[in-house]
Symmetry: C2
């Protein structure tokens, strides 16, 4: 994986530069609100997946598709802005959320502006028109699915009986489909055939689901100083993550942790989940998803980019923040 | 204009049928919330403008473009759902608004789902791919402008010094550009050349602005039983409409009407505005915009559809609800 870090750094630099050019350097309060979270950093993983998928299909094609890579980051950011309103979160990427820094109406509109700009930039990619039409359709369907996933996630808050299938369906929609669209759009715009597009779409879907499962693990085990987020917030809020669902299925009662938690409390919960085999099982599921996702890549010729796609999958389930 | 009413009725029937098929007949709470306002009726004027523009460019082409017509209605509805949240309005088209019937997060998501579906349906139109890419770009830019217009409109609430130019800019973005996009997209998808597309875009822009000015007039002079909306709400709320701006420019003080108003109060305000020539001036401006918009249509061969486009413009500034 030694080549992945510099690759991701270079993509992030390119995307950051485009964000400055097309979003930050604009006047007007609504444009500022729209650019706020985009400019607050981020790993730019969806653009990286899109560009690698494109290059894995047609070497060197991603250079022509930077606007489409930007479109994926912009789409992701619009969903974050709207999610933050719904969840009334006040901090994201170390900065105040848009509706906190401005107000709720401005947050809705800032997200809506980015939503439009995503489709506009997707159409600005240098690719064949039929491919662009397919890419627009793929992005639109992903956006509708993300909404459905967020709606499911919120509905889970009122329930304590969510099962594994429901959780997987929610995560597939909320997180998986945008990675699927990223890889699929890269393949489509690079001129990939139907088999390649489908394979890369499925690759993205699986690593996206694995990404979210790992996110839930990170929430539990990574101290705030490393992750930048409150540790064990899911546990405290009784959130229906895969960890919690598996724990419940094994008869563990985690409801006692739905309160302010000390570091010792968190360690006790981690120990309990470890002893019951829950953490290992969840890690195994994420790891199995990544292995399954790699099988999709067999339809592509070996290349540096194909290897980097596998490295990204491996990174998704080993990262600690 | 005798042919306009049956034409509009037939478009509305077609669009209503598509709404039933693609939105109402879906399961799941979020889909129900997304379909709620779409299914609550509406004159389907943007689809009509799109279809007439297409047929005025290439006779009979609109039959192939029904999905694009639907996309415009869906776009309009998504903006209404989000606007209702921002303005915290509880009634629209005689039904509870989405965030009132469900909740704010569901309202945001229902709008976001429609936003995606609009682009998906636009891509489902039977047209050339290059035309569809241009149409997607046009719709995306219109959406970003609508957000900007709504943001301007909200910022006006805290001001009492909005001038005519600012008002016109706001209305252009909030209402004009979607009619412009409707006519422009119809022309593009029907295979229109650059001159025709630009002419129809500008036609739509002007009648859209005139439509909004007429809406402000209707708010003042049309009783609730005819318009279905509270009479004189703009006056009561001190909203910066063209009427109010012109009145202020003429030295009229309408701030005394910022309170609960009886029918007699409203009549007194109407009399005051009539005597000062404000109502006539505003009517003239709307009428001039429609005349100007018709000049754009000179690049098209005479046809039934070109005439119906002119009739729609005339209808926009004579309607009383």
């Amino acid at each position: 994986m030694s080549e992945l870090s510099p690759y991701l750094a270079s993509v992030a630099k390119t995307i950051d530069h485009m964000i400055d050019r097309y979003f930050v350097d604009k006047t007007g309060e609504l444009n500022k609100a729209s650019a706020h979270l985009l400019a607050a950093g981020g790993k730019r993983l969806r653009p990286a997946v899109m560009m690698l998928a494109a290059d894995a299909v047609t070497s060197g094609s991603s250079e022509e598709l930077l606007h489409a890579a930007l479109a994926l980051e912009v789409t992701h950011t619009f969903t974050l802005i709207h999610d933050d309103i719904m969840d009334d979160d006040s901090l994201r990427r170390g900065v105040p959320t848009v509706h906190t820094k401005w107000d709720m109406p401005t947050g809705i509109l800032a997200g809506d502006v980015l939503y439009a700009r995503a489709f506009e930039h997707l159409c600005m990619a240098h690719a064949k028109d039929d491919a662009k039409v397919r890419a627009v359709t793929m992005l639109a369907r992903a956006c509708a699915d993300i909404c459905e996933g967020q709606h499911m996630d919120m509905s889970f808050e009122h329930r304590s009986d969510v099962d594994e299938d429901e959780y997987m369906e929610m995560v597939k929609k909320k997180t998986g489909v945008l990675y699927a669209a990223a890889a699929g759009i890269g393949a489509v715009l690079a001129g990939g055939n139907a088999v390649q597009v489908k394979a890369l779409y499925n690759f993205g879907l699986n690593i996206g689901i694995a990404f979210q499962i790992q996110d839930d693990l990170i929430d539990l085990v990574t101290p705030a100083e490393t992750s930048g987020k409150d540790q064990a917030s899911d546990l405290r809020e009784g959130k229906q993550t895969l960890l919690m669902i598996k724990a419940r299925e094994k008869g563990l009662d985690l409801s006692k942790y739905r309160r302010d938690l000390s570091a010792a409390d968190i360690n006790k919960a981690i120990q309990e989940l470890t002893d019951a085999g829950v953490i290992d099982e969840v890690k195994q599921m994420a790891s199995d998803l990544v292995s399954a996702s790699n099988k999709n890549l067999a339809v592509l010729s070996p290349s540096k980019e194909r290897q980097l796609l596998m490295d990204i999958g491996a990174f998704f389930v080993t990262r600690s923040f």
